[in-house]
């Protein structure tokens, strides 16, 4: 075999393998979406129906009108969106300030602060929920979205600062120094020079925090009791409590829940990894 032929075969094999990997990885997601669009007849069968031939929006209209636990999915989507958005808005400001401090200044306690950030990323929410429940209860924030938001800010902030730090550090310091020499105040320098340059990183960090808050289950499960304040991950549990699992409704709800995350993921995929493994990847 000529080297050319061998390389060609290798290339075809590689692409075939890629197609198989793609199919395996995407199948569960495809199955979720296709089930969501199938009629009950096609869902509740022992046959394999690869594609919904009787395409229907029935399950989507059902979960959006009738919903679960006596409320439309719109309510839960709304609650999730409020929690995630407020978390991001407050979290982004806090993270930017802290990230600027650690990326731009050397100060006493900086290393301890960085170590604390790292350790806090590892603390399981399932452990923290126990003391936080007591505090939220004491402060009268139990069963309130505000209480949930506060805990979400706490859960997302350490990683937010950690990720944003690399973006702030990536902005050349000389730009700010030039502004200082020109007589700009500290605030003007921050707002007019640093902020626009860090903005893309801030967006990436915010999206990451949004997804974390959007997906969060344990706090929402134990800090909220009132069904009108459920978030999506909690609401989804109630489909399983019902007699005879309504798979069409579950898959439609799961699809609705996944959609915003997919969109955000495709937007920031590359930056996200850079934040997570920052420092480990030798450039």
């Amino acid at each position: 075999m000529t080297p050319y032929a061998r390389r060609l075969i290798g290339k075809i094999g590689m692409n075939a393998l890629a197609v198989i990997v793609l199919l395996v990885m995407i199948f569960p997601v495809y199955w979720m979406v296709s089930t969501a669009f199938k009629s009950n007849e096609q869902i509740f069968t022992t046959e394999f129906i690869p594609f919904p031939t009787d395409f229907t929006f029935e399950h989507f209209t059902n979960v959006l009108t009738k919903g679960v636990a006596e409320h439309s999915i719109w309510l839960y989507l709304g609650n999730s969106a409020i929690v995630a958005l407020v978390t991001v808005l407050i979290g982004a400001v806090f993270a930017l300030l802290s990230a600027t401090a650690i990326a731009r200044f050397r100060f006493k306690g900086r290393t301890s602060f960085l170590a604390t950030l790292l350790i806090m990323q590892m603390i399981p929410a399932e452990a923290l929920v126990i003391p936080l429940f007591m505090n939220v209860k004491r402060l009268g924030l139990y069963d309130q979205l505000a209480g949930l938001i506060v805990t979400q800010i706490a859960l997302t902030l350490p990683f937010g600062i950690w990720m944003l730090r690399t973006f702030v550090a990536a902005v050349p310091k000389s730009l700010e120094e030039a502004a200082w020499i020109d007589g700009a105040s500290r605030f003007t320098t921050f707002w007019k020079v640093l902020f626009p340059l860090v903005a893309p990183g801030l967006v990436a960090t915010s999206i990451f925090s949004f997804i974390t808050a959007w997906n969060e289950l344990v706090m929402a499960l134990y800090l909220i009791n009132d069904p009108t304040k459920y978030t999506m991950p909690v609401a989804l549990q109630f489909f399983f409590g019902q007699r005879g699992t309504d798979w069409g409704a579950i898959m439609a709800t799961s699809t609705l829940m996944t959609l915003p995350v997919v969109i955000f993921f495709l937007l920031v995929q590359r930056r996200m990894v850079s934040g997570l493994v920052a420092g480990a990847v030798k450039g």
Partner: protein, 336 residues
């Protein structure tokens, strides 16, 4: 993306001589805060959140683990009473604790290597593919990655459904003799995968590995892009095969990446929660892992926050041991 971390290393650090030089040259400003105070002022909001909502609750958690915190204490009617190490002795005597610990550790011991090996394989594949095919595969991976944990659980619960699940349908497709030979049975219709702890964990492993592959793959790809291609050319000229090249060049150079990925995966798999809840681990005590056991104990009726906190302390300590390795790795990597 590797660019940012490279810049971060140069830009974020001032202990190197050029950085220090520019610090000294910085023009003095008359107005505003003194220089030394600026970082502390910037840190105030972040510090308040971290101390008030993370560090302080952790201390509370540790204290609670030595107290009896029941209905009256949750309602604020009675102060918590000290019970010494009673919470710990009672959880260590309980069988569920040891089952949960075993579930947690065994699950991580299987899921972490599987995720890393398969994820690395996909990452290497991504690098070898042409531009277009690589992009298509990455977009496909993004879809799997983006599914929220509870929805992942829902999907796999549906795939593993006894009557209409695809898994049983596929197992029924196997020729009867093969199925009999492998599993001792040929009819899988109605096989309930989510009744027993061991089969719940089998499905959970499939679910978590599937969902974890994209992150590992994309991180490994990012690392691979940073390895100079001359190294690979040299290896090829020297007649090194793909396997040898991986172990002699790729693996040593990507060791830091693998170290971080391993630790992150261990941490994530140790506290797997959303998927386990949906797959039935919340109602089946045999299928508890430590995080499930901690909240189940703390929030049961009547609540036993004290013993819940004790389990949470054990889980946290286990995770901190792993974290210590991670932090040392990161601090060794670069000056933060």
């Amino acid at each position: 993306m590797t660019d940012t971390s490279t810049l971060a290393r140069g830009g974020g650090r001032h202990s190197s001589s050029p950085g220090r030089g520019s610090n000294r040259r910085r023009p003095a400003r008359a107005k505003g805060l003194p220089n030394w105070a600026v970082p502390y002022v910037l840190l105030i909001p972040g510090l308040l959140v971290i101390i008030g909502l993370l560090v302080y609750p952790l201390i509370q958690m540790a204290i609670m683990s030595f107290q009896k915190v029941g209905v009256a204490q949750v309602a604020g009617k009675k102060p918590a009473t000290w019970v010494g190490v009673d919470n710990y002795t009672s959880i260590f005597e309980s069988e569920i604790f040891w089952t949960a610990l075993r579930n947690t550790v065994v699950f991580a011991a299987i899921a972490v290597p599987l995720t890393l090996i398969l994820g690395t394989a996909v990452g290497v594949l991504l690098q070898k593919l042409g531009r277009k095919m690589s992009l298509v595969l990455i977009v496909g991976l993004m879809f799997a990655w983006a599914v929220p944990p509870v929805a992942q659980g829902a999907i796999w619960r549906w795939l593993a459904d006894g009557e209409r699940g695809i898994i049983n349908w596929a197992l029924n497709l196997l020729p009867d003799w093969l199925s009999n030979l492998l599993f001792g049975r040929s009819d899988w219709t109605g096989e309930p995968w989510l009744n027993d702890a061991w089969s719940i964990y089998m499905i959970l492993i499939l679910c978590v590995v599937w969902a974890g592959i994209p992150f590992v793959a994309v991180s490994v790809l990012a690392g691979l892009k940073g390895i100079p291609s001359e190294l690979y050319e040299a290896a090829r000229v020297d007649g090194s095969g793909a396997w040898r090249t991986f172990w002699k060049i790729t693996f040593p150079l990507l060791k830091p990446v693998f170290a971080v990925l391993t630790v992150l995966s261990i941490i994530w798999d140790f506290k797997v929660f959303g998927q386990l809840v949906v797959l039935g681990g919340q109602t089946n005590r045999e299928a508890f892992n430590l995080s499930m056991y901690a909240v189940a104990e703390a929030f049961k009726a009547p609540p036993k926050m004290g013993s819940g906190a004790a389990i949470a302390v054990v889980l946290t300590i286990l995770l901190l041991i792993v974290t210590a390795a991670y932090i040392r790795q990161l601090f060794k990597q670069e000056e933060l």
